[in-house]
Amino acid sequence: MRRFPLIVFLALGAVFYGVAAQAQDHRLLNVSFDPTRELYKEANTAFAASWKQQTGKDVRVTTSNGGSGKQSRAVQDGLEADVVTLALAWDIDVLADRGLLAKDWQSRLPDHSTPYTSTVVFLVRKGNPKQIHDWPDLVREGVQVITPNPKSSGGARWNFLAAWGWALRQPGGNTDKARAYVTQLYLHVPVLDAGARGATNTFVQRGIGDVLIAWESEALQSQQELGKDKFDIVVPSLSILAEPPVAVVDKVADKHGTRQLAEAYLKFLYTPEGQDLVARHFYRPRLPAVTEKYAAQFAPVKTFTLAEAFGDWRQAQATYFADGGVYDQISEAGH
């Protein structure tokens, strides 16, 4: 008699597990990075509606958000993501190295698999009291800079490379000068958060720092949420074009039988409807027509791409962010 409840529990558990496994047939898991929370929440619903209209079938897309590197690690360790939408190509390259998807994944979708872009800008306190207009102002005495840790935040790696690339492209710029500038820059950082959202909170809620180096999408969203009377956005003279990539995880999609669905989901992001969504969530769209429509939202910025300045993400990662790489070296310097 006493054993009865245990058996009942086990049986119920088995039933629930079975139901959950069954229901997965028309499910898609999108493992994404941190600041796409709002974008994909809306995109998932919009895609489900369009899929229903086209095929008459119901689909439920769920998105998991977290630091890009952490999310990539989770997928490597067995989190069954049908698609990944991460901050930078390296985090998907690692998955390809593990055989989870084809090595040439980046050539499978238009614009090397980056349906939306952003760029790195400065968020400053209203009225710009410290007169921050460009990269050199960040290393002036008395200026405190907030940016997350490039080791744990994908977004912060773009920030790092934006600063490096700017210094490199100054008259007489070279690697030594870029290194000196970036070393100085990180000595002006009083709090190094693990992720982009953490850094935004430190700047906005805790009131720490004079300038937040942020993605334009994050900066615009903070401004919208908190009111334009609190913060100004400053566009530097030169910045990087941040290109966060998307990909179907072949192995998982084939196992779940969701390849077609997963591909349609990612292609949806390139459609006029998807691009409109992207722009409404402050990412820069790829479609010229949509770009034009939202022209007022995005200030003109002169940008360079990662490919122009650093080759590809594999090289950039190995040089700057791998264990013992440039970032590790400069974070020991100056102490």
Binding site: R73, V94, S152, A194, R206, I208, D323, E332, H335
Partner: protein, 274 residues
């Protein structure tokens, strides 16, 4: 073994061993195996790095200081809760457990919000030139916070079971209050205090969630080892360097716990002789 209180010795021992093996031993041996397979150069690169050495110093130094503070504070708290009767004593008693139950990230964010330069407490401290959040002081505060209940909860039952007669006897023999505490109570509490210290220390060394929010995580200043490990994992690629740091922490923690248990044994022997 003749008087077993619980039936099914074989079964319960089997479950115990399987449980310990699967939950504790297996992951730890996987860690040791990974750390052992990376080669001497990786080991040297990790342990020889100034940044790692600094983080180790902060993690263990901070935890030692935090555990010491916890012992002092915990003794006071436990004493008050056991010996005095006052309104809301039960509530206070329950509050002690909060750091156990609260997700550490919540604690970290709450502490940061309070102690940041624009927080309720931080605002008052700033004119005095004291900054807690985003400094080593903040790391210490978080470590003290998570370790405190361990000391209080180990001390409480012992304090409750102390016999008043012993103290009364000491008083009648002319011991002052201080002598009573120093010569009578403290020796009796010593083993428990050491246990509490060891538990608080172990907790503080491994603490991640609350510390990373309040510390500011600056390399060479406020970066703890667990955070370094997470960063090395998040950067993608090989987990070898992270495993090395994990193994170093494991070895250091074992050493510390061993020292505490040796101290305890020594203390017990000393008590028996004395």
């Amino acid at each position: 073994m003749r008087n077993r209180a619980m039936p099914g010795f074989g079964l319960s021992l089997g479950i115990t061993l399987a449980w310990l093996g699967g939950i504790v031993l297996l992951p730890l041996s996987a860690l040791a195996w990974k750390a052992g397979s990376v080669g001497a150069s990786t080991w040297w690169a990790q342990i020889g790095s100034r940044r790692v050495l600094y983080a180790l110093q902060l993690s263990f130094g901070g935890a030692l200081v935090a555990a010491a503070i916890d012992v002092l504070l915990g003794l006071l708290l436990a004493w008050v809760l056991v010996r005095y009767r006052f309104p809301l004593r039960r509530v206070c008693d329950a509050l002690v457990d909060l750091p156990f139950a609260l997700p550490t990230a919540v604690a970290g964010i709450a502490l940061t919000a309070l102690y940041a330069p624009n927080g309720w407490i931080g605002r008052l401290l700033q004119p005095l030139g004291v900054q807690v959040a985003y400094t080593r002081l903040g790391v210490l505060l978080a470590m003290v916070f998570v370790g405190l209940p361990f000391v209080v909860r180990t001390l409480q039952p012992v304090l409750e079971s102390l016999e008043h007669e012993v103290e009364e006897a000491a008083r009648t023999l002319g011991a002052s209050r201080w002598q009573n505490f120093r010569r009578v109570l403290l020796p009796m509490l010593m083993p428990t205090l050491l246990t509490g210290f060891a538990l608080a220390l172990a907790r503080a060394v491994g603490e991640y969630g609350s510390v990373i929010y309040i510390s500011g995580n600056l390399p060479m200043r406020t970066e703890i080892v667990p955070l370094l490990i997470v960063q090395k994992i998040d950067a993608g690629g090989d987990t070898g360097p992270a495993a090395v740091l994990g193994a170093v922490m494991l070895a250091a923690s074992l050493l510390v716990l061993l020292t505490v248990s040796l101290l305890q044994r020594w203390n017990r022997r000393w008590m028996e002789v004395g």
